[in-house]
């Protein structure tokens, strides 16, 4: 073992491969990606230096404990990783289309791609997206000033970023594991893969797993304890309900994964035998632990998106949500039942028929509340005044496609059929079918809705609509054909095929993947166009969509303290009711000083130390491991002696800020929904709902 580099060697540096290895498309893609990471990081660094923005980045963002900024940082992290994930997906589709006679990529590179794609999309795209939304929206929707534990919130972000960073580093230094996102041992054990691939995976998952669990704790305590006076549970916005359920799931579902990852680490690094072939190791335990996390995880991801869809149907149909109680019941039952179905991920493991039947039926049962939700949303749209703008286009795509995912889910719930389609492309089609329309469409619709709240200007409507349609068509062409490929017996993760009958499907999915690439560019273009036209799109008054929940009763963007005075809640959708009654935005009689937590570098310290830890264990740089542990432990020790101080916003400042907003409102003309997407919309709504109530 050579100090200080452990088992790291020059040949592990991927960018060098472009010059040292024979030229091939495979090498170009692999080494080129490494170069892109390096150049991208350098470009950001240079840009920050030239613009003199390092101090701004540190003070305003990286050390901020404001839940809104942390939420936005989660979204940015998610988007950076999303760009990589989509690029990987397109590379995989390109490979599989040419795979009848080999394919453009090497076997190993292909395997790395499907493993990183899955890991990144689940853990470092979907999770940051939903955590970002929950961070941004929970306090605003329950009328709180911040999370219950603002510093812990920042540490959660730091740990999530650690996992993402390890994935990015693996692109440049060494390689990622090749056993899929589930990383089933013994294939990922040290006997069959000495590393460093699986080590990167293990530490990315274990460390970010802590972050997600902390987020769950933080969000649930916030919702339990920090609701505005009068906001009983049954008056909470539906998004908050879904966030609560997701938080509970995070707290209970993440530990099995983290434990499983640690057990793998013990096997690999210290020679334990939890999951090895010999000495009583048993990989079936891993499968159970992994899916005990894995199935609730699906609902962790999709429930907040359901929350977004609920808010969106009622807002963009200008109508009260139908069946609130049913929706809440359905959400709660989903989160409970989601812990009772994990075995359906391995009906093929040789379980007795009775066990398979029990879990098959449980899986069917979870479809009941999910079905109820879809009907509830339809009933909400029924007899509404629907505005077919970007969010509603995503919603339509979600409706039409998600039920197909539900259909394939019910097919998979039947063990007798599952024995045929398990591990085939049918599964690939199914989970993309539920996660893209279910989660991503919700996230994109949500971004369209809440972006103006966060940044003070709307996203360009036409660009948004084109992008939404590209997503819907792109998804359909890419993934629906895979159902049929699966029925024809093509295994998932298989790098090649021998049946020419599959070719038309492969071309179709490649075309779809290109559309998805365009859709990604569409997102970037939408953002670009909107920033260029931000003055025309500005909605400083804060309510561009005739919203119903509390966050719309604040300026856009909201001040760091969210609410000048904590509102009192008398009923569900309080803001919508005030608007119907014609007296929103009342000025409080008096203002008080507001205390907010001060910035801290805790999250960044944790981020750097835990990334160093993960990198150190992966490469056997034990000095780095010891050092980083000392930093983490030392930080906790030292800060426990430091009294946490707060920033005080004087009442006068709050009054000035609030009055300026109220005055701007009094001078503005409310716009009807006819002008929702043109420049007359400055964020003061003339509500549709007065018409008929």
């Amino acid at each position: 073992m050579n100090f200080p580099f452990g088992r790291l060697e020059w040949s592990d540096l991927k960018p060098v491969h472009l010059f040292t290895h024979e030229f091939s498309i495979d090498n170009l893609v692999g080494s080129g990606a490494a170069w892109m990471v390096v150049i991208g990081a350098l470009a950001v660094a240079v840009l920050l230096t030239v613009m003199g923005r390092w101090g701004w980045l540190w003070r305003e963002w990286l050390t901020s404990v404001d839940h809104k900024k942390i939420g936005i940082m989660y979204m940015v992290l998610g988007f950076v990783m999303f760009a990589r994930g989509v690029a990987e997906g397109m590379a995989m589709r390109a490979h599989q289309t040419t795979a009848l006679n080999g394919g453009v990529l090497s076997e190993e590179h292909w395997a790395e791609l499907f493993s990183t794609h899955g890991t990144i999309m689940i853990f470092f795209v979907a999770m940051p997206f939903i955590t970002g939304f929950m961070n941004y929206l929970i306090p605003l929707q329950i009328g709180a000033r911040d999370m219950a534990f603002p510093v812990l919130n920042q540490i959660s972000l730091g740990l999530t970023a650690t996992g993402a960073a390890l994935c990015m580093i693996s692109l440049v230094v060494g390689k990622f594991q090749i056993g899929g996102w589930t990383a089933y041992p013994p294939f990922t054990g040290s006997t069959f893969d000495p590393g460093p691939g699986p080590d990167y995976w293990i530490w990315a998952i274990a460390l970010s797993g802590f972050g997600s669990m902390f987020s769950g704790l933080n969000f649930s305590v916030t919702i339990y304890k920090m609701r505005a006076p009068g906001m009983t549970y049954m008056r909470m916005p539906v998004f908050v309900w879904t966030a609560l359920c997701t938080s509970i799931l995070l707290v209970f579902a993440l530990p099995p994964l983290t434990v499983a990852a640690f057990m793998q680490a013990l096997d690999r690094t210290l020679g334990f035998h939890f999951f090895t072939n010999d000495l009583g190791g048993n990989m079936m335990n891993y499968a159970n632990l992994f899916w005990m996390f894995g199935h609730p995880e699906v609902y962790i991801l999709v429930l907040p998106a359901y929350g977004i869809f609920s808010e969106l149907t009622s807002t963009f149909a200008a109508k009260r949500l139908y069946g609130y109680t049913s929706l809440v019941l359905a959400t709660m039952s989903i989160s409970v039942i989601s812990f009772c179905v994990w075995l359906h991920h391995f009906f093929t493991m040789g379980n007795s028929a009775t066990i398979n039947v029990a879990f098959g039926i449980a899986t069917g049962i979870i479809a009941i509340p999910t079905g109820v939700k879809v009907y509830v949303w339809m009933a909400t749209l029924w007899r509404g005044r629907i505005r077919m703008t970007t969010p509603m286009i995503y919603m339509t795509g979600f409706f039409m496609l998600f039920v197909i995912g539900g259909l394939s889910g019910m097919i998979l719930a039947n063990p007798a059929i599952n024995w045929q389609v398990h591990n085939t492309q049918f599964i690939v089609a199914h989970f993309h079918n539920v996660l893209l329309p279910g989660l991503l469409f919700g996230v994109f619709a949500g971004i369209h809705i809440w972006f103006p709240k966060a940044f003070g200007f709307r996203l360009h409507e036409t660009a948004g609509q084109v992008t939404a349609i590209l997503w819907i068509v792109g998804f359909s062409l890419t993934f629906l054909p895979l159902y049929f490929v699966g029925l024809m017996g093509y295994p998932r993760r298989s790098s090649g095929f021998e049946d020419p009958a599959l070719l038309p499907y492969m071309y179709l999915t490649l075309f779809g993947a290109l559309l998805i690439g365009c859709a990604l560019l569409g997102l970037i273009a939408t953002l670009w166009i909107s920033i260029r036209q931000r003055d025309k799109l500005a909605v400083p008054l804060g309510d561009p969509w005739d919203g119903r929940t509390l966050e719309w009763a604040t300026p856009a963007p909201p001040p760091p303290w969210n609410f000048a005075v904590i509102p009192h809640i008398a009923e569900r959708d309080a803001f919508a009711r005030e608007k119907v009654d014609g007296k929103p935005f009342v000025q409080p009689p008096d203002y008080k000083d507001i205390h907010l937590p001060r910035n801290t570098s805790a999250g960044m310290i944790m981020f750097i130390a835990t990334t160093a830890f993960g990198f150190g264990v992966t490469w056997w740089m034990w000095w780095l491991v010891i050092l980083s542990v000392l930093v983490v432990v030392g930080w906790f020790f030292v800060t426990s002696f430091i009294e946490h101080d707060e920033v005080t916003i004087p009442a006068a400042e709050v009054r000035r800020h609030h009055n300026a907003w109220i005055e701007a409102i009094s001078l503005a003309t409310p716009v009807t929904r006819d002008h929702e997407t043109d420049s007359r919309n400055r964020g003061l709504a003339d509500t549709d709902m007065v018409v008929a109530s």
Partner: protein, 335 residues
């Protein structure tokens, strides 16, 4: 975008979507037979039937959504001021009963069906006269016992009673139940014969079971669907369901093949394709390899390998990058 162009766009994309769906669905049904939609036996046939009925049943629940969504979106568009608008409507008892009741009824049906099917074609269930009656088939002869060992990256089929083994192909007599025990001598794999039945995991140190029967002649493949490394996509063996006569002549052909002794086994256990194994054994040709078996306990000894209380060294584990032939010889049988 004006509402007019938008609706035209919507109509066109709906038409395009419909055409596409037709093409997609027609594909697997019309294509060269592969997959369980073209069954060679009653088990895959039941699986296909279940697929059809599950689809139909769920359609009852999702058709209202697929048809209702475009209707609602169009009918209640904001510009249609003639449509009723009820912004405060938020509850209806009968609607609630319907929206909970419909999925419950459908799931109840599906639950009953899936339980029946799962018990009926449980991979562990021996195909005896009673099961044959349930499946509505005639048993043409006695059960064929087979052992399957998953290697990196090929299946080894052992026919202990016939004293033969094969790699790269599996032959089964039509009408005879085939009872398999499965394990692997490397990482976990998953065994599937799409047109006949499956699938079941094969895991080191453990034996799983799979019972299959073909009731007509034909060919399909035995594939490994679990990712096991770089050669995984090539881990497919041709499976032929043949007449009992053809099966017997295949057996006698196999009995003339090279002997599968411990040394040979250690060689074929190395990572690689069937072709690689052929080359390592110094055999000519490109066809599957047929072996004569002298010892019939290879399967049990593969499982025993991992029971060693002292553990198994890395270089003695096939599939490990450090595997070598001298350490990798199977342990002697426990007596």
């Amino acid at each position: 975008m004006t509402p007019d162009t938008r609706s035209r766009l919507a109509r066109r994309s709906a038409a395009a979507g419909l055409c596409l769906m037709t093409i997609l669905v027609a594909g697997p049904l019309a294509a060269d037979p592969s997959g369980f939609l073209h069954p060679l036996g009653p088990i895959a046939e039941i699986q296909r039937t279940e697929l059809v009925w599950a689809t139909v049943a769920v359609m009852v629940a999702i058709l209202p959504v697929l048809l209702g969504t475009p209707f609602i979106m169009w009918r209640y568009r904001r510009t249609n001021t003639k449509a009723t608008y009820r912004p405060q409507w938020h509850f209806d008892t009968w609607l609630e009963v319907g929206m909970w009741g419909l999925p419950i009824v459908i799931v109840a049906f599906l639950g009953i069906w899936l339980a029946q099917a799962t018990f009926r074609i449980d991979p562990y269930r021996t195909i005896d006269a009673k099961m044959a009656e349930e499946l509505n088939i005639e048993l043409a002869g006695p059960q064929v016992d087979m052992d399957v060992v998953g290697l990196d990256w090929k299946w080894l089929f052992l026919y202990p009673d016939q004293g033969v083994a094969s790699m790269g192909e599996m032959v089964m007599p039509v009408g005879h139940p085939v009872a398999m025990r499965l394990t692997t001598d490397t990482v976990m794999q998953a065994f599937l014969v799409p047109r006949i039945g499956g699938q079941i995991y094969a895991m080191p140190r453990m034996a799983t079971r799979l019972n299959l029967i073909a009731d007509r002649e034909g060919r399909t493949e035995a594939i490994n669907t679990q990712y096991t490394g770089l050669g995984m996509s090539g881990q497919r063996a041709e499976v032929r369901a043949v007449s009992p006569g053809a099966y017997r002549s295949w057996i006698s052909r196999a009995q003339e093949g090279p002997v599968l002794d411990d040394e040979t086994y250690a060689i074929i256990a190395q990572s690689g394709s069937v072709a690689d194994a052929r080359e390592a054994l110094g055999l000519d040709g490109t066809t599957p390899i047929l072996f004569r078996l002298e010892a019939t306990d290879i399967f049990d000894r593969v499982i025993d390998r991992y029971q060693n209380p002292e553990g198994v060294a890395r270089d003695a584990q096939p599939g490990s990058p450090t595997y070598n032939l001298s350490s990798g010889v199977l342990p002697e049988a426990d007596q």
